[in-house]
């Protein structure tokens, strides 16, 4: 176990280094003029001012020197200047991160539960009606693009029924949240409103979260359902379950106590896939629902070809994914003793 963890931890810096190099290769495809946005904090009005910036920051220097200088800034948390938001990229990420965290948190918790529960139902009722229904549903769900799904739920629940509005908070709630009497402990509106004892704001935050959470999670529960189902099917056919049944245990006991723990091991491996789906999904979901998180900012920056902002977020997402995958791998080793010995 310990050597496994050490080996995985040793790969981490290599991957993070690789991620930064790849991002820098993309940056160096830009001209020095375009790259100047990494350093300036405002668009210079004076003629030739950009040339001064290029000279000052050595944007024509050999590539490895530029990389080291850029890395020095990245390590200190400086990702350059975002022309979309007219503020430093790192500052934009810090400001918008809580919204995205809140969204993904609410999307991931129920989706794991629902996905696993449905997967078990499908496997236990293998080839019966309920299995076929879930199977077809998950394939269809897998085929609906997330943006089409999001637009359709908007069409029904916002445009027609007016139940759930887009955005993150209504204007009146936003004013209260930003005022002095409301302390923002976590920056997550749902939790903060509870801590402040404001039920009305909690309700407003939840109303805004329902549709984006639904859009972001339906894809993933289809994925978790399929993996749980096939893993459960395989486990249910093992000899030790026949033994358990022969001992006279109830079917419920056999499924929940004996089969499920083993069947869930492969489900843990798709944690990385789910994380990828979430990171990809927030870009589209937040854009459709006009939700002020990192994803919608990235989409906005990409359209206006604000490459510096896009690369900053890509770097951030890359590091999140590398660390996330490490956690998933360690969790997997913890769950499955066979991995530890390997």
């Amino acid at each position: 176990m310990r050597t496994y963890i050490i080996r995985r931890l040793l790969i981490l810096p290599v991957l993070v280094l690789g991620v930064t190099i790849l991002i820098f290769v993309l940056i160096s495809m830009l001209t020095p003029y375009e790259r100047a946005a990494l350093y300036v904090t405002d668009i210079p009005k004076r003629q030739g001012a950009i040339d001064d910036v290029i000279a000052k920051y050595g944007l024509d220097d050999p590539i490895h020197e530029q990389y080291l200088r850029w890395m020095g800034k990245v390590v200190r948390g400086d990702l350059g200047w975002s022309k979309t938001d007219k503020s430093p990229v790192a500052e934009v990420i810090r400001r918008r991160l809580p919204a995205t965290v809140e969204l993904t948190l609410f999307a991931s918790l129920p989706m794991v539960g629902v996905g696993i529960w449905l997967g078990i139902q499908a496997a236990v009722n293998h080839n019966k009606f309920i299995d076929q229904i879930l199977r077809v549903n998950s394939i269809i769900g897998w085929s609906i693009p997330i943006f089409v799904f999001a637009l359709i739920v908007m069409m029904i629940f916002y445009a027609r029924l007016q139940w759930f509005p887009p955005g993150r908070l209504s204007d009146w709630a936003q004013r209260i949240v930003l005022s002095d009497e409301f302390s923002r402990y976590t920056q997550l509106n749902t939790i903060d409103s509870l801590l402040n004892g404001r039920g009305d704001i909690l309700l407003d935050a939840v109303r805004h979260l329902v549709l984006p959470v639904l859009s972001l999670s339906y894809l993933n529960w289809a994925l978790i359902l399929r993996v749980t189902r096939s893993s459960m099917l395989e486990t249910l056919r093992q000899d030790y379950l026949t033994t358990a049944r022969a001992k006279g245990l109830t079917e419920r006991n056999v499924v929940n106590k004996h089969a499920l723990p083993n069947a869930l091991i492969p489900v843990a491996t798709i944690g990385g896939l789910v994380l990828i789906a979430l990171l990809n999904g927030v870009v589209i979901t937040e854009t459709v629902f006009n939700y002020p998180g990192i994803g919608s900012f990235m989409a906005q920056a990409a359209i206006t070809l604000d490459v510096i902002s896009v690369l900053g977020i890509a770097l951030y997402a890359g590091v999140v994914l590398v660390v996330g995958n490490l956690v998933v791998d360690l969790l997997y080793a913890f769950l499955d003793p066979r991995i530890r010995l390997a």
């Binding site: 830009l30 375009e34 089409v148 359709i152 069409m155 997402a317």
Partner: protein
Amino acid sequence: MKTLRQLLRNPTSLTGLILVFFFAVIALAAPVIAPPAENARDPYIIPRDGFVVEPQPPSREHPLGTTEGQYDILYGIVWGTRTAFRVGLVITLFTAVMGVMVGSIAAFYGGWVDDVLMRFTEIFMAFPFLLAALTLTAVLQTVYGRGEAGILIWGAKVIALVAFGHLPTRPLDPVSLRLMTGMMALMAFGWMTYARLIRGDILSLKERDFVLAARTMGAGDFRILFRHILPNAIYPTLVVASMDIGSYVLSFAALGFLGLGAQIGYADWGQMISFARNWIPRLAQHWYIVLFPGATIMLFVLGWNLIGDAFRDILDPRLRGARG
């Protein structure tokens, strides 16, 4: 042959095959179903009926209505089918070839070559796919947008040759160049699965006796790899590739939806749906701008996914006994 017969017998995959066949017919018959205007320079540019901003509901002239800016939805869907097939097939082809090259070289030579190539692969996998593609598309559009792309223009020319039959001697037009930036970005971050898959298959094959036999007969590395090992190892990769066509179309549509796909007005499903973004509060009234293109993408991807799902069940020997 046996696999094909099983695919035809299984109701799920039969539905999938029918769907894909249906779209193939639409793509081939595009000039008949939605004839381009006589003076049209490029049939892929959707004709506009005036410049009114507000979408118009289905009418006799426009059976599926028009999007904002009066692009005909039926025309866009029909010609977009060609774009979808082209995008899906070309991206899959290139990613598979790139992946097979990297994976087979890594597995065949082993040692430090394997180490370096696989770390390289892992670094590319360290980015969320769509996010990475979005990033690279933005970079490529900046690079190509300024007119001189240096060596990168040759990459675009190779893809243009395969995708459009566009000879490398002719200059690239901006419309297809724009389309290719998204395709190139998806390729750049799509090849890793194939590399890892083929690597595993080759690793288990290369110690087999027939490889040793070929070597004793004096065959060189390249001959052994391409004539003896690859033909035996390629089958699983081909299956995975066929299953990926739908998801590449989906990813490309997502880029289009975010505004980084084809040029405005080009027949591309993702972009057609992106036209709906400005009308969200009034979608109850303008439902057709979401439902028609949305259903089209869904059915197309569903077709490929149904085939892929059945494929996996047929090829997975562990599940064979379970299908009563």
